[in-house]
Symmetry: C2
Subunit: 182 residues, 2 copies
């Protein structure tokens, strides 16, 4: 099978993880780590649930892969992630010596695998990874766009409800004042 | 108390953590996180023991501080670490919105808080931290130098022992051959 078709198969697995994050109200980002043609670790972003800044999909997947392999060196592994890694996760790729990184959508705000900078291919570090980007990017970006659209809609609805409640309470407040004055 | 004196007090705490790493044969790097003048989290590097690429002193300290604060936002916290953070840990500072980073020795190989680059003050990220460096750098660098010197010495001793064993085994091997020919 050609590389692109294989990459799509594993990116679909990362998208399944992203969907799990969405189900529990987390920003939908998913990752899997592949070794010898098999998924050895999977994870999704669950920062809100854990309230830990480090529980990004990639970092958790890397930790799980280390546990499976029994080593902090993931030299024969490929990381598939739906969104371009941030500086922390790109740094974790360097630290764990992952051989290859494949991501879906680029991240214009924090992407450190080619967008803002490229930490996984920095000549001065002691490790560099192969890099492929844009695999199933429409799907990866689409799930994020839909999530944030829903979030904005929900916030708007809550704001309107709060304003409505405030008006109601003002009306009854005025009535109460009227009562007192009477 | 002036800032430098305070910084030295907390850097000594980070050095205590580094010493704990050394005791168990880990590269001696230690970190503490301070909030409201108190140490709320402490950690040391224990990558060899865990075989997880992510168990650097800073990353573990950040996770523990998140657990203590109950939030992934560490906006009122200062990270003290004996060695300049790597890209992963500098990225974790950005992700957790730590207000200030204080480190001891600079890291010419992977330092990402001013040496190779400065990720904690990168204008394009959504968070920047205050930065102080060189606090008790002699002590922080000294413990590392001593550790690696001891490691090299130990490796040399083991190599010499192995060579000695090989010579011994060759001698007895020859004797055995002699025996066969006799």
């Amino acid at each position: 099978m050609e590389q692109k078709a294989l990459d799509e198969i594993f990116m679909k697995e990362a998208l399944i993880e992203a969907a799990k994050a969405e189900e529990i109200g987390e920003v939908p980002i998913g990752a899997v780590i592949v070794k010898g043609g098999k998924v050895i670790a999977r994870a999704y972003n669950y920062r809100e649930a854990t309230q830990r800044a480090t529980t990004h999909a990639e970092l958790t997947a890397i930790e799980r892969a280390c546990d499976v392999v029994g080593s902090w060196r993931l030299e024969e592994c490929t990381l598939y992630v739906t969104l371009e890694p941030c500086p922390m996760c790109a740094g974790a790729v360097v630290q764990s010596r992952i051989a290859r990184v494949v991501y879906g959508a680029a991240d214009p705000k924090a992407g450190c695998c080619g967008t803002l900078m490229n930490l996984v291919q920095e000549e001065r570090f002691n490790h560099r990874a192969e890099l492929s980007s844009g695999i199933m990017k429409e799907e990866a970006a689409g799930i994020l766009t839909a999530f944030f659209r829903k979030l904005r809609k929900e916030k708007k609805r809550l704001k309107q409800e709060a304003e409505h409640d405030a008006t109601e309470s003002n009306i009854s407040g005025n009535r109460a004042d009227d009562g007192k004055e009477a």
